[in-house]
């Protein structure tokens, strides 16, 4: 697993060979051009093998068995947690809570921290570009607690406008904000938002679902109070995600889900609760997938997140250059349109071809992109868009994928008789 920056950037090593699905062909015999990693990433062999190895060799419940395979399962499960802690530069493993995904992690904070801390008249501040998963839980919390939602505006390029932030922060207890926009790829200035939020007495939850897979994340450097992510967007399995929280906050929070594993002692009348992180992990956890997520982190760190970011930045620059030729035929690209300020996401529309039709035509060429509102209906309304076609990159994509995308768009132009 010792791979250098140049290997990834220069494509000397065949990254694709590590991902079995990328060797598959579509029913039309086309090579799979996978450009939908913002929806979910593909899985390398090491991750698939880790799942199989657990079930074949040491499947046992954790934190209770005294026998050898139970101890091995517990060790592997907790080792994966320690890997996540290191990956995010958390102060300790106990600050890493396993959830099903980023959405569940946000809901955990909304119910537990929000239930205890938000009251009538308090303000929850979110941005205009949030995924529904970082909006709807706060709408419901606002209804339950009598608090109010406010929004940090974005401009037409989907960039956060911070000139009114201090006014918006008045009366605010919690800021919930994406690190990277899933729809536009915009990288948000989290450190600045956190510093100003803290100065105003608010805490900050960062939705890192689209950032953690693609760039180095240091939760202590960001000074984020909560940071959430989904394993399946970063080479790991579905059904496992993470809530990072500062210990002082997590310690003070009441339990979210309750049951086994999260208790210290139980009588018929009452219970006392386990210490962190298990206080928030009721019931048998998703053991296999947590362990396999640990393998995904090993794999990512084998390349280095800085190198993965550099690879995607270069690919984005190459794509913007190639797509530029189609702009005179009506191709519109949304977002910052700048590899320095964008993660590997390109959101676009092509003349009067609806995004769904574009996706269908590309599909016939084996090209997988996403079409629609990307679970950001308010942002789409703000930008006056009904739908966009979104291509998103990861470390296994290379220039041939971008070339295929451009050829596919040319085919769509021909089918729709664009001049």
């Amino acid at each position: 697993m010792s791979r250098t920056a140049s290997a990834l950037v220069a494509g000397e090593r065949d990254v694709r060979a590590d991902f079995p699905i990328l060797g598959e062909r579509t029913s039309r015999g086309k090579r799979l051009v996978y450009l939908d990693s913002a929806a979910t990433s593909q899985k390398p062999t090491v991750v698939i093998d880790a799942i199989e190895r657990y079930y074949r060799e040491y499947n046992a419940n954790i934190h209770r068995g005294v026998y050898e395979i139970a101890a091995r399962a517990t060790d592997a499960f907790e080792e994966a947690r320690a890997k996540v802690a290191r990956f995010l530069n958390a102060a300790e493993s106990a600050e890493i809570i396993w959830t099903r995904n980023a959405t569940e992690a946000i809901n955990l904070v909304a119910w537990s921290w929000g239930g205890a801390n938000l009251h009538e008249g308090d303000v929850i501040l979110v941005s205009e570009l949030e995924h529904h998963s970082n909006l709807v839980p706060w709408q419901l919390l606002a209804e339950r607690s009598g608090s109010r939602l406010r929004f940090i505006p974005v401009n037409d390029r989907g960039e956060l406008q911070l000139d009114t932030l201090d006014a918006l922060l008045e009366g605010c207890k919690l800021v919930a904000i994406a690190h990277v926009s899933n729809t536009l790829g915009t990288i948000l200035p989290i450190a600045e938002v956190v510093a100003r939020a803290h100065a105003a007495g608010a805490i900050v939850l960062v939705d890192g679902a689209q950032a953690a897979p693609h760039m180095p994340v240091d939760v202590r450097a960001l000074d984020a109070d909560f940071y959430v992510l989904s394993a399946h967007k970063m080479l790991g399995p579905t059904g496992i995600g993470v809530l990072y929280g500062k210990r002082a906050l997590l310690d003070a929070m009441p339990p979210f889900l309750s049951g086994g594993d999260m208790i210290r002692s139980v009588s018929y009348e009452r219970s006392t609760f386990n210490e962190l992180p298990w206080k928030f992990e009721a019931g048998t956890s998703n053991i296999a997938d947590a362990i396999a997520f640990g393998s995904a982190i090993d794999y990512l760190e084998g390349y280095g997140m800085e190198n993965i970011r550099a690879h995607e930045r270069a690919l984005l620059a190459y794509a913007f250059e190639g797509l530029g030729a189609l702009e005179e035929r009506g191709l519109a690209i949304y977002g910052p349109h700048d590899p320095e300020r964008s993660s590997g996401v390109i959101s676009m529309n092509f003349a009067d071809i609806h995004a769904h039709d574009l996706a269908s035509i590309l599909d016939t060429e084996g090209i997988c992109i996403r079409a629609g509102h990307h679970c950001t209906m308010p942002l789409m309304g703000r930008l006056d868009l009904a739908a966009t076609a979104r291509a998103s990159f990861y470390l296994y994509n290379d220039r041939s994928d971008v070339d295929a995308l451009i050829t596919g768009l040319e085919k769509a132009a021909a089918i729709f008789r664009l001049s």
Binding site: S360, I361, G372, M377, M380, A386, A387, K411, I415, F416
Partner: protein, 129 residues
Amino acid sequence: MDDFYRDFILDHYRNPRNFGHLPEPDAVAEDRNPLCGDEMRVEIAVDESGNVSDIRFSGKGCAISQASASMLLEQARGKSLEHLLALGKESVLENVGIDISPTRMKCAMLGLSVLKSAALAGLAKAESE
């Protein structure tokens, strides 16, 4: 799927028939495809004998949903509301004349679904009057 986008489909997409609004519709229905956010609204005017005297649709969507609706509405004029309510998937599929992939079937059926909702609303209104 790329065979879908033939000239007459693109023509209905770019120049949808019966597109717009009626001044005084007797029945209206709206729906959206939650997958893609496409929206469609159908407005119907009914004559004394309960047949469609005028009809419009509006909204935004892909070529499949817009062309399917445009072609279907052309055939709705003059028909009874009961007739519209009895329409099945095949009425759309015969118009487009080609298999629609399962992932796009909802797009193709959006117009049919809203048309039938409007017909139902028209019948309910007629009953209550």
